[in-house]
Amino acid sequence: MATFSGDGLTCLRGETLVFRGLDFTVPDGGALVLVGPNGSGKSSLLRMLAGLLAPAAGTLSWDGQPVAEEPDEHHARLHYVGHHDCVKPVLTVAENLSFWARLHGPAGAAGARLAEALDRLDLAHLRDVPGRFLSAGQKRRVNLARVLAAPAPLWLLDEPATALDRASVGRVREAIAAHRAAGGMVVVSTHQDIDLADPTMLDLARFSARLAPAPRAGAEEAA
């Protein structure tokens, strides 16, 4: 039963404070949905969870063990889907995905998982198509297929539903449900409603230093 939690997280972008004193826990099979107005730090929090952005204060821990001590181990546990869909125009879809799969997961049964990932997101027919011919929606699906192609317990999805049609959003929802059923965790930031089963909501506006004055009475300096 792994749990992923953070306490007292503080995010500093340049000289401005984005949020502080943010706590959360995601149990196995859990789903944390980040909501809040633009600029409240949803993307920053996801990047912090992925280890791209070091928290100015506070700690992230996996099963109680601070994540900062073993960054590579933490990276092996997660998939991060950001705003960019990095599909190389010269490489085919299969080459793109197999590169990321080899980087993340063990080599065994890579071919089978790759095929399954392509099927799950209706990309099988694009398998050998070079990236430059793909539309924005297709690139987004290839990016999401990357997450399926190599197993990782923690999914960090930054607005996965952008540029996707209704059918694709449905496929993403099923993929997430299957992932959670298998004991995986998901942290999603989204504007459209993907309506996941019993998500725990986290409204970042409560922790945002900018939009509301200090959330807790007598907010002391973080020692």
Binding site: T10, G14, E15, A56, R210, L211, E221, A223
Partner: protein, 241 residues
């Protein structure tokens, strides 16, 4: 201990120290100029041009000193993430560059009467020229980003890489110079510094250091205040929704 970029302790200290450091700088400069220009004998070999040495040599020391201070504060900024350290690095870069320019110009004005040429590819002058470009590279890098904090952090990495390269550059330029050195060139430093030259040299060096501290305090206070202005403007823009 995290202080969100509000180095107030430093600002209060700097505000108190600034007038004193200004006074010290003026005093030392006056004393230095007096001994350098008036109260010291002309050199038996170089004649009155030795007085150029009293600017050239201390400035050369300062150009290296400022770069080392820049690299050390950049290192402190990177390791302990202390905002004041990054600001110190940014503040000392232009001063260091100024001293390097002074060293090069005074070197040229010394070379013209002694060797008949404004510029000679002498080991020390060449190394100083490369140091100037290390400074210009740092200054260009920190101003190349929209977010000043991002520029400072990138500059810190460059300063640390640069400080490792300074001895390597010095070594290779010296070696290169000995290979291509025409025999007749008088060593840049001239004869060993004898007693009478020591007093003006040291006084000018101290004057430059006092000046450096004074300008550093002023520039750092300006940079930190600018940070606060940016923060307030951002708060004004985003404001309470």
């Amino acid at each position: 201990m995290l202080r969100y970029a509000n180095p107030n302790r430093f600002m209060r200290l700097a505000r108190v120290l600034t007038p004193w450091s200004a006074g010290l700088a003026v005093l030392l400069t006056a004393a230095g100029l007096w001994f350098a220009l008036v109260d010291s004998p002309p050199d038996y070999q170089q004649g009155e041009t030795v007085r150029i040495m009293y600017v050239h040599v201390p400035a050369a020391w300062m150009s290296l000193f400022c770069y080392v201070v820049m690299a050390v504060s950049a290192g402190v900024g990177v390791i302990w993430k202390h905002p004041v350290a990054d600001v110190a690095a940014k503040a000392s870069a232009p001063v260091g560059a100024a001293f390097t320019v002074i060293t090069l110009i005074s070197g040229a004005f010394w070379g013209k009467p002694m060797w008949g040429a404004w510029w000679v590819w002498d080991a020390r002058l060449t190394a100083e020229l490369v140091l100037l470009f290390l400074y210009l590279g740092y200054i260009a890098l920190i101003h190349a980003f929209d977010d000043p904090a991002r520029g400072l952090k990138a500059g810190a990495v460059l300063a640390l890489v640069g400080v490792i390269n300074v001895p390597i550059i010095k070594f290779s330029v010296d070696w290169w110079n000995t290979l291509h050195q025409p025999a007749s060139v008088v060593k840049m430093g001239g004869p060993s510094i004898d007693g009478s030259m020591l007093v003006p040299l040291l006084l000018m060096a101290l004057a430059f250091k006092a000046y450096y501290i004074y300008v550093l305090l002023v520039k750092m206070r300006a940079e930190i205040t600018a940070g606060k202005v940016r923060a307030l403007r951002l708060r004004q823009v985003h404001g309470t929704a």
